[in-house]
């Protein structure tokens, strides 16, 4: 299926989902209390920062291999939370970067974090380390960095490819506590086997809401839940219809695939 442009059904679906998310954000901003269940991996982040502080060794936060895109910006959001904690407790945070543009973004984000904690002079821009844009050169550099700097905690957030296991095993080697999360679902098994806490699936996108408890983000999270329920309902309806209609005759499949003007 070549989806170059949306059809009317896609447009309606998107409007419904987007409206749901925006509406829940608005209700949350108006002060409605929202419940979010405990997510163990995310609760571990603060604890992991604490351990590095106790040991007096630096932390390392990798934001993955992406450039300025959605998964990497989400990793950045988590990174600024950890950076603020690091600034508060007077800890070092090393950020290896694989994209030139993200060097600027990370520089900005960490400086802002130290500023918000009232310690702009303690910010170390040299801890934003551009390593390489090449996948495995980046992995080699980060492995060296993790082992040589004797980091106490590593955070692996962002989009990772095959190098995920290399990075996580370097942390194992240096005895760091590791928290990892990625939207690259096929890499999750490798984080599970070598990290102490793994954030699975869209827990990744729940991270900033969970950590900051900002009403806007919590509202968005509830909106995401409702949107997922809508998708789930569509699949259920489609499957029920599939009892009676052969594959392409299924009305829901036709709605999903019919091209505009064709």
């Amino acid at each position: 299926m070549n989806l170059e442009h949306a059809n009317t059904f896609h447009l309606i679906l998107m409007i419904v989902i987007c409206a749901t998310i925006v509406l829940t954000i608005i209700t949350a901003k108006r002060g409605r209390k929202l419940f979010i269940r405990r997510i163990p991996g995310l609760s571990a982040i603060d604890e992991t920062v604490g351990r590095a502080t106790e040991m007096g060794r630096p932390m390392l936060f990798s934001i993955g291999l992406g450039g300025i895109d959605i998964p990497t910006l989400q990793a950045m959001g988590v990174m600024s939370h950890v950076a603020k904690l690091a600034a508060r407790y007077g800890n070092r945070l090393i950020v290896p970067v694989a994209d030139a543009m993200m060097v600027a973004v990370c520089e900005e984000a960490t400086r802002e974090a130290w500023l918000e904690e009232g310690k702009p002079e303690a910010h170390r821009p040299e801890d934003i380390r551009f390593l390489s844009g090449e996948q495995f050169a980046f992995a080699a550099g980060m492995m060296g960095l993790v082992i040589r700097e004797k980091v106490a905690s590593t955070f692996l957030f962002g989009y990772f490819y095959a190098e995920s296991l290399l990075l996580a095993e370097a942390g194992q080697e240096s005895g760091a506590i590791q928290v990892a999360g990625t939207p690259a679902t096929t890499q999750i098994p490798f984080f599970i086997v070598s990290c102490d806490y793994t954030i699975i699936g869209d827990e990744y996108y729940a991270a900033s809401a969970y950590l900051t408890q900002e009403p806007t983000l919590l509202g968005s999270l509830v909106g995401q839940d409702i949107s997922k329920a809508i998708l789930l309902l569509m699949i259920v309806v489609g499957t029920i219809l599939a009892f009676f209609y052969v594959e392409d005759k299924n009305p829901l499949i036709q709605l999903l695939t019919r091209a505009v003007g064709g």
Binding site: G67, L232, F244
Partner: protein, 213 residues
Amino acid sequence: MNHPDAWIIWIGAICTLAVYSILYRENPVFRFFEHVYIGLAAGYGIFTTVTQVLVPQWGIPLFKEGKWYWIFAMLIGLMFYFVYSKRQVWIARWAMALFIGTGAGLGIVGFVTEFVPQMKASIKPIWHAPWNLNSFSFNNLLLFFTLITVMSYFFFSIEHKRPVLKGSAKTGRWLLMIAFGAIFGNTVMARVSLFIDRMQFLLFEWLKFHQPY
């Protein structure tokens, strides 16, 4: 590389052994080659950016074809460098905003282009006419069941205490673990293949052992 020169093989073998030395522990040789590697990769990055992006996509349209408006691409790119200025940092933020905005737009579009086909693929007939044993698909039922239970695990705004959701989410987590285990097992072959490649290079191309096959 069918008949590579002898020194290319030697360079390759030394690099290979230097990287494998990290398996014992982090050591000066690995450290040296790690720096060389990052240097080569950085140089290669500059080389490809110049030869594949800046010259053909920017220099030629601007200077050869006289499309003067391409100068703005450079001006926007240079805005990023203001990140090093404390007072004028907003200039870098402005350029970033453009990229964050397009990233967001592409994210919204990407949802439809990626997940509409996935939704379509998720709708499979479990049982259909003529309603006999042959037209019943246990595998499709299982596909459906896995999808529902795993998705139910990822609802964050409801406490997983209600009996139905609790059972479903727990089943979903178990199925998810099976999925992850299977992915791990399925990846071993691809990774071992890469190691066999390197081993064949070291044994037969560098040390010139006799190939038994």
